[in-house]
Amino acid sequence: MSVEIKVSGQTVTAFIKGDIDHHTAGEMRRLIDNSIDLNTPSLLSLDFSGVSFMDSSGIGLVMGRYRNLSKYGGSLRITGAGEQIYKVMKLAGLEKLAILEK
């Protein structure tokens, strides 16, 4: 489990790696929020291409970051979600909160 953060202008990209479950989501949340607090990006891009598995804890992770960004008008993009992850995201209707790019 890890999150690698890249900042480019007004965009923060978080490259999430490993399984997202209740065990790992807390630390991922902390790392991403640190960067939101520090940079207040206009766009947060969550890159899921390194995520091997995600359950509904990942939905909580995305929805929580969406709430934090909304406070100041930032937007959210999700990229690189594999089939299993995309299926969980669609079930939760995440496409209503974020730009969902497969």
């Binding site: 479950d21 065990h23 598995f53 359950d55 509904s56 804890s57 909580g60 299993q84 079930l91």
Partner: protein, 149 residues
């Protein structure tokens, strides 16, 4: 419908075991030669059921989570996740999407994921005694060496 294979295990309700639980069940089910999507559905559902035990049933501390899986001759699998935790006051309410009793970032989608990814989900619960979740899924028939055994 006859059971042709079964495994059972128990583990401490530590969040570090969530990955172990879904890996163990998916490894057992793999003898039915499921598609990648089917195995992912099962992994996700098991992860939700086990997380519920950790976050809700044993919220005050640690307890044992009992997991078993049975394979039937019609290529279906029945997975049981049981705890001896606090129990659920209103099972129907708990199963409503987005309903959650804990704050933080739980999305309240655990049962919704289980119901969506499995063919059948049954929940029995008694306050102070614990909760049993039984999930069934039919694995598609494909031609393979394993299917003949």
């Amino acid at each position: 419908m006859t059971a042709v294979n079964k495994f059972s295990m128990n583990m401490m309700s530590k969040s570090a075991n969530e990955g172990f639980a879904r890996a163990a069940v998916s490894a057992f089910v793999s003898q039915l030669d499921p598609t990648l999507e089917e195995i992912n559905d099962i992994k996700t559902a098991v992860s939700e059921a086990v997380t519920n035990c950790i976050v809700h049933a044993y919220k005050e501390g640690y307890g044992k989570i009992y997991i078993s899986a049975e394979i039937f001759d019609n290529k279906s699998v029945k997975i049981t996740v049981r705890d001896k935790g606090c129990g659920i006051e209103n099972v129907n309410k708990a199963m409503e999407p987005l309903f959650t009793t804990v704050g933080g970032e739980r999305a309240g989608l655990g049962f919704a994921v289980m119901q969506s990814f499995m063919d059948n989900v049954k929940v029995r619960s008694k306050i102070g005694k614990g909760t049993t979740v039984v999930m069934e899924k039919r694995i598609s028939l494909r031609y393979s060496a394993n299917a003949q055994k």
